[in-house]
Amino acid sequence: MDFQPRITAFVCNWCTYTGADLAGTSRLQMAANVRIIRLPCTGRIDHMFIVKAFERGADGVIVSGCHPADCHYTAGNYHARRRFGVFRELMDFMGIDPRRVTFSWVSASEGVKWKDVVNETVARVAELGPFDAYHELAGDTITGGEPAPDPFEAASGAETPDPLEAHEVGR
């Protein structure tokens, strides 16, 4: 499959970011489609982050933070759980396929789980295809001209491995 989905991940500083770091330092192989944005806590992750990611070209989104009872700020993830429980239903009702958004708890020690979350999400979104329906909401007048240069691609220069070929994915 040629399509390489763009996934934006919003993760908390204390658990998932550290977990993703662990996945890296452990040299776990995973799809390179995810751009991580680190935030202090899932409680700081607003639904508008997800909307903005879709607006600016993401095909899928991962929201991840500390497991229940592990929040660095005691209850941020509990609040997030309520808000995203509602937002997920709202997206679904408005016709945004909820499979494009992964919510997960990944702790600092769960590098392997992070790898799985990433690979599963990339595979799932790859199957759903590009989210052009959202990207082109404003029509030609909006996306206008050539696509935005990808700063990551320009920086790395390396060929992106096909996540489906290189790695075993799915449950």
Partner: protein, 389 residues
């Protein structure tokens, strides 16, 4: 700081300016120009098909395509006669969106290092035809022409104006909130229109008022019948009756003098009248959305990803707080009293002072759409009474 009216604008490609036919007479209308033709219901369908097949965009009152929602007609681009809803109530929105889109790109920009490239948008537009516009909506366009041509000319507005041919539908008058008569129009006015359709049994009486209108008829000649003299006389009589009925209906609604209102509004900026009206208004601006003459806009930049984006203009309204909010936090219109006053001022004092006519065509949409029952006709009646006192 002269408040003298500026020169009237001159939209390119406009033929004779259609003042309301026999507007002064007030009684039965006369034919606008030439022999009245007839367009049967069946031929109207064919006309739509021919226009669409010819590749010209066609706007007409039509129902919402999605089942289970809405109900009232709106002006839409249509592709078949089946969509036409001439018999429906007044379209929910006015016609202005086809000339001043609710959101339109002014230009796009692309960053190339420290340089920026600007991609202009065209100011010439493909032709479009409007069938069945209400006279109040069409007349509004010519009123707004004046501000769009004030000093610097708005080519995006006039580009669309020039590209459009409009045939009115002589209006049966919606309900008691209609007051076109009170602001100098009529249900069968043809101001700014290129022609008019008047319902008669079995079809429409067709009149043209401009060369553009005549050209449209000429292009589809076979569909328009002149018939024998007897039938033509019958039709003219039916059309005259239809118009006379409509005029009588709307003339009964609101008796005001807009000159008197203009003077009173200009002299009573700080009157208690405004503080009594403001509280009911919740600032929702639904009135401005549906208004055929409200034309205020906002200009915003919207990046599209990295390094490029568009500057757009969007409908805006004086009813919101952010409309006049300074970056410092100071707001010259800090409450709804002053915002509602601005709305009435702009329409009935500022615009007439500048351009010699009110910024209102009496369509009554603002009164119908207001969720809190604020009623412009009633407000005008109150002001008129205050002015008379």
């Amino acid at each position: 700081m002269s408040a003298a009216p500026d020169k009237r604008p001159t939209p390119k490609g406009k033929g004779t300016k259609g003042a309301a036919p026999a507007a002064a007479a007030g009684a039965a209308a006369t034919a606008v120009a030439g022999a009245a033709l007839c367009l049967t219901e069946e031929n109207l369908g064919k006309l739509v098909a021919e226009i669409v097949a010819g590749g010209t965009r066609l706007v007409a009152p039509a129902r919402e395509p999605q089942a289970g929602v809405g109900g009232s007609a709106d002006y839409r681009y249509i592709s078949s006669a089946a969509e036409l809803a001439f018999g429906d109530s007044l379209p929910r929105m006015s016609l202005k969106g086809f000339f001043l889109p609710q959101s339109e790109v002014l230009f796009k920009w692309h960053r190339k290092g420290a340089d920026v490239e600007i991609e202009a948008v065209p100011t010439e537009f493909p032709p479009q035809i409007v069938l069945g516009a209400r006279p109040c909506d069409t007349a509004a366009l010519e009123i707004v022409d004046q501000v769009m041509d004030w000093g610097l000319r708005d080519e995006l507005w006039f580009g669309r104006r020039d590209a459009t041919t409009i045939f009115n539908l002589s209006c049966p008058v919606e309900d008691a909130s209609c007051f076109c008569h009170a602001v100098g129009l009529n249900p069968d006015a043809t101001r700014a229109a290129d022609g008019m359709l008047t319902p008669v049994p079995g079809g429409y009486l067709v009149e043209t008022c401009t060369e553009k209108g005549a050209a449209l008829i000429e292009g589809h000649k076979a569909l328009f019948e002149s018939g024998d003299t007897g039938a033509a006389a019958q039709r003219s009589k039916a059309a005259a009756q239809y118009r006379a009925d409509a005029r009588a209906k709307v003339a009964a609604d609101l008796q005001i003098d807009t000159t008197r209102i203009k003077e009173w509004v200009g002299d009573h900026f700080d009157d208690d009248f405004w503080t009594a009206l403001g509280p009911r208004c919740n600032g929702c601006a639904a009135c401005a959305s549906v208004c055929p003459t409200c034309h205020c806009f906002d200009i915003v930049d919207e990046p599209e990803g990295v390094g490029h984006g568009a500057r757009r203009r969007n409908w805006d309204t004086c009813q919101t707080g952010v409309f006049t909010l300074h970056a410092s936090g100071h707001n010259p219109r800090a409450d709804q009293n002053s915002r509602f006053r601005q709305r009435v001022n702009h329409k009935f004092f500022i615009y007439p002072s500048r351009f010699g006519e009110v910024l209102c065509t009496g369509c009554g949409r603002c009164s119908r759409v207001c969720p809190e029952g604020q009623d412009l006709a009633e407000v005008l009646a109150c002001i008129d009474e205050l002015a008379r006192a």
